[in-house]
Amino acid sequence: MASLFLLTANLQAAMIHVPSDYKTIHESVEHASPGDTVMVGEGTYRENIQITKPLTIKSEKGSENTIVQAAVRKEPVFKVLNVDGAAITGFTATGSDTAGIYIRNSRNILITDNKTLKNDSGLRIYNTRNSLFRHNTANANEQFGIYLEASGENTIEKNTVESNKDKGIYLNASHNNSVQENSVKLNIWNGIILWLSNNNTVKDNTVFRNMYGIVIAESKDTALINNTNWPNIYLILPVVLAYLALILFFIEQKIFSLLEK
């Protein structure tokens, strides 16, 4: 009975193309029915997209060629509200004073292969469960790369989170999440921070050259497994090199005095 229902649902699911069927993504989202797929062609779109039903929004040519800029800066580029089962794949979301991708009160959300650059935050996720955030890039945002609040049972994996002006990955009051195989580099403050967050797994992450690598505060039962954590070498390297110079100076002095003899 269930498979018959799924089969019927699949048969009914439509594929909507942008810009051939509708010129803008948000128009196509408004006209789509739950379960439909919105396929977006390459180009730069200036809009804010709100998703309130289970849809799949995909780009045809990947995030490099499909750029969505916030038309209204104070709104997120993609906003997912009260949805069970949506997917956003293959976009560059930029220019928002809120977030590239903003998700609230949702579950079973799939966010993959997106780039969120130069927003206030890359991904902002509130009260969201059982979702997967994979292969996204959250770089050069004003605050956080990926921010989770009051969210649980999510997987954040294989993302690149670099050069954000505050924190890389921030879990705030979020429990039972898995943060794994992410590359977290050159964020001005913390690489990964868990604040008031319990029972999370932080595994196989590469955390290089942030001010502080992995910070766990007011959090219980965190599993830290096999993370690679390097400090910020721009603070250490000049000191190490100065010591090396001192040693070389003494060697040079010896060589010169031997030559003069």
């Binding site: 390297l237 090199l241 100076f249 010169f256 003069e260």
Partner: protein, 117 residues
């Protein structure tokens, strides 16, 4: 390329520190050997600085404003240093210029590590 620039900048910084130490030795009166060492380290440091500037100005990497002006200031200070050491009246300023050159090297190195590599 970025790794090459970082390595070259590190070598240059070491030479600049060595040059600075030998400069201090000259001030303390350890004359001939220190002068030779200072001259050698100074010229090598300048040569490395020149290579570094060429790689950054003509390379593909985006230069930060601070790095750009640090490199320009480095050239001006190096020229001033060479003029000052040959001028008896201005010789007393050579240690200040030497110190400023070391500061320039610190800025160049940290900017390269932080923003380019």
């Amino acid at each position: 390329m970025l790794l090459t620039i970082t390595i070259i900048a590190s070598i240059g910084f070491i030479l600049a520190v060595m040059s600075f130490i030998t400069g201090l030795q000259i001030l303390r009166g350890n004359a001939e050997t220190s002068k030779k060492m200072h001259r050698l380290n100074g010229f090598l440091a300048f040569a490395v600085f020149f290579i570094l500037a060429v790689l950054i100005f003509f390379g593909k990497e985006q230069t930060t404003t601070l790095l750009f002006w640090a490199l320009i200031s480095g050239f001006i200070l190096s020229y001033a240093k060479m003029r000052v050491v040959k001028n008896k009246r201005a010789y007393k300023y050579s240690s200040q210029i030497g110190f400023l050159l070391l500061v320039i090297w610190v800025i160049v190195l940290t900017q390269i590590i932080r923003h380019l590599s």
